[in-house]
Symmetry: C2
Subunit: 497 residues, 2 copies
């Protein structure tokens, strides 16, 4: 007779297995599925999603959870019970009809958004957005919150995070960061990124991307690298993590830094504890913590001078035609160019955060009914001028640029900037623990950092929630200081500040 | 309120969807999965298999089937009810414990077989084989049969086929076929296959394989071609059919005829009616009928002179280095070489059938307890001498060569030779319907044959069982005559007979 916890474990492992199958179906859809396979794939995905949902909301799971009401002294048990309860509570509170209604409204909204963006006509999208906001407010009310509906949406992606906390750090960040961007923008000294637009043959890009991914610790015996239109990392288990990238022969950064970004997600997934496979204890904490790893490896490490001290000779050899006349310093400056721009997905790592703060402030106020949908274009343009000093020519390059709101996705954007803040604070802690980290990286030793991350972050799975993890690992609550220090230290020299 | 048939349809569609997901997991395992992913994949496959099995044996399905006891006048409905009943009956009659017991016994037996084959020591495998035979007899008794247990095993792969019928056609075939092989073997005129062992660069092989697969009608918008150790065709829906092949630069035939073989399976899958996707009416009839298509396209069409009249110039251009001095006639003779050999998987299309007859006779008698396990090596050697005129040096190249019996797979081998018989009889009918078929093929028109097959076979799904389909399509019950005529016509010229 299995104990209630053993029964719970069997249930959640099966949910995890079903979701991992769903994730493989998605990966295949993006990478290998023949074009005509879409209709059947949609049916397969839908049946898998339904099976997982049925299990997440089963009375059996509810009964097991109510039997497991006491605290467990075992951290893995406690984690699995706590997070399963969170998933169950959320799933039973949102009726399947409401989920279905959001899916069908957003399917139409996505179409309307595409058309509206094409025509740069926000008005055509506005009623769909209003409808989705109404539905997501209903979700928030059903999930429950302490007054701030946005909390309930945020915690889908960043469990435990609150609107107030996010508003606190973003509020602290927006002024100093805008000011720093202004200084960079106004400086007469600037890196020249034009060398990155020379010719970089795809085969050499792929080879270098694989070398760099392996160098930061991505294990190709437990993972793959493929091509897809929108790069992603799909990790079903620590032993099977799939990265994708895309190649642009006229742009060095897309595949190289794209792969480092996804490989950053990948080493996190591969560093999870396989003994807890398919359970919360063997899963990543949150989107924000995940993003902290992709951004740390891509930007903080992958664009550092130390990193390229070791790898630039190989890189130059791979792209003789385009990089022979480019010095290490010139190359490192080029890959650290900051330039305010209108489109989020093309933004550099500094200005990117201001794009996120803008979206957070708008969607928080929309959900709270403090901002009316009709006022969005004007508010968008006001804020982007204030934060980045630029003005969109039209809504297509302004408030209509992202697909997310048309999918009813609110509470997701903040995780990107949170990721940068987490990353800087983690990295500062790693530097305290490994004082000669920069020298090690310059020698091509990336294992020291990886080991520290594995020990302090990856292997814990969901034992700690994001904010708690930050405190456990760094000894401090989340703050903007490590990130601002990192930015100043990294970018000031390139801009003569 | 859905009708009982609509409810049944929803159930069987979901079973089909789950099985199609399982098939994608298998495809990925064989083609793209990173090596360390195996353990988690086994868990995913096991949960998917269990979910499908639960549905196939659910009381709900049983109730629906009992409500649908009358005949339906709609052929699709009648087919789906009949075949779902067959699947349900079989699944509920074999307890899940027995299935599990066979899986665990065969896991050990497979290991023992591998070792026994290595040591060429049948005795070490014999007790495992005895145990599996006992378990499969129990399966047969539980499934039910009219006296011949082998019927129940055979019908897992060839629904409705009986031991007597198979024994009838194989009994008729063994004498004339052995005699024909003897004539070929003793002839002083023989094709020279040595040109096929020249150098054939992999990239050119892949290009030609794709051209030929597309030429016989395989639609790459609804399918793929990848590489795997053991080639297969995995068809989850008509819109997503995945072939694999393997390349050997020192052997022309492996990838080229291997791909034609799998593409033959593939055009069958792609020709099924997508309106009946995930149901028996949209599924292939049986392994035998499936094999009739792979073997027709690979051998009867793919090794014909007419086919290469059109494609040999392209083939020669692709392999200039190796085929410039080889005439069309020399090439066609080379790919139609017949040579008795000990190993089934290396056998040509003529002698292959004798390997199958041998296995059928042995496994039928083992299941019927007319042949004791200890007598197998001797009986094997006696029969292969009788059928092919050759004698194995040891059991490894005799009765231990195949993995199948160690997996408890009995009743499967016959489908290969049945496939050849079906194929010849179908092709003879197609030739009556399209009298200038050979000329059309020589002009590169393979659509005429494909259209005929789609209309007469593929689109019917499981409307007819194999034997019935043969009669409906060809007007005659299955007989050996079309196959023997085909063989004589095809091979006699190359051997001066």
């Amino acid at each position: 007779m299995p104990s209630p916890y053993e029964s719970l474990l069997a249930e959640i492992r099966e949910i995890g297995q079903l979701e991992s199958v769903e994730s493989l179906l998605d990966w295949d859809l993006e990478t290998h599925m023949p074009p005509n396979g879409l209709k059947a794939r949609a049916e397969q995905l839908s049946v898998m999603a339904r099976l997982a949902h049925d299990r997440k909301t089963s009375p059996q799971l509810g009964e097991l959870l109510s039997k497991l009401n006491g605290d467990s002294s075992d951290p893995a048990e406690a984690t699995n019970i706590r997070e399963t309860r969170r998933i169950y509570d959320r799933a039973v509170k949102v009726p399947v009809e409401l989920v279905g209604r959001i899916a069908s409204v957003s399917a139409i909204a996505k179409g309307a958004w595409g058309k509206a963006r094409q025509d740069s006509a926000f008005d055509a999208f506005a009623p769909h957005l209003s409808e989705l906001l109404e539905l997501k407010r209903e979700v928030a009310d059903r999930v429950g919150h302490d007054g701030d509906r946005y909390d309930a949406l945020l915690s889908e992606f960043e469990p435990g995070a609150t609107t107030d906390e996010v508003a606190g750090v973003f509020g602290a960040l927006r002024g100093p960061l805008s000011e720093f961007v202004r200084q960079l923008t106004e400086s007469s000294t600037k890196p020249d990124p034009s060398v990155l637009a020379r010719r970089f043959p795809q085969a050499a890009q792929e080879q270098l991307a694989r070398i760099l991914a392996a160098a930061i610790g991505f294990d190709f015996k437990s993972g793959r690298l493929d091509v897809s239109t929108h790069p992603f990392c799909s990790g079903s288990t620590p032993h099977d993590v799939r990265l994708t990238t895309r190649y642009d022969e006229r742009f060095f950064s897309a595949a190289i830094f794209g792969t480092l970004h996804e490989a950053g997600h990948g080493v996190y997934e591969q560093g999870l504890d396989a003994n807890h496979m398919f359970t919360p204890m063997g899963s990543a904490v949150s989107l924000g913590i995940h993003e902290s790893q992709s951004r740390m490896w891509e930007n903080m490490i992958g664009r550092s001078r130390a990193f390229w001290e070791h790898f630039y000779p190989q890189c130059q050899a791979a792209f003789r035609e385009s990089l022979t006349d480019v010095s290490l310093d010139g190359f490192v400056a080029a890959i650290n160019t900051v330039q305010p721009s209108l489109i989020r997905v093309e933004a550099d790592e500094v200005t990117y955060n201001l794009h996120i703060i803008l979206r957070f402030e708008l969607e928080r106020d929309m959900i709270a009914e403090r901002l009316s949908v009709t006022d969005i274009p004007e508010m968008w343009n006001t804020k982007i001028k204030e934060l980045l000093g630029i003005t969109p020519n039209n809504d297509a390059e302004g408030c209509l640029q992202d697909i997310h709101w048309s999918m009813g996705t609110f509470g997701y954007f903040p995780t990107y900037a949170l990721g940068n803040l987490y990353a800087a604070q983690f990295l500062a802690a790693a530097r305290r623990a490994v004082p000669d980290l920069t020298e090690r990286i310059a020698r091509g030793d990336l294992t020291s950092l990886l080991d520290w991350l594995r020990t302090n972050i990856y292997r814990h799975g969901q034992r700690y929630r994001a904010n708690e993890l930050v405190e456990v690992v760094t000894g401090q609550p989340l703050s903007i200081e490590p990130f601002m220090s990192y930015l100043r230290e990294r970018f000031s020299p390139f801009y003569g500040l």
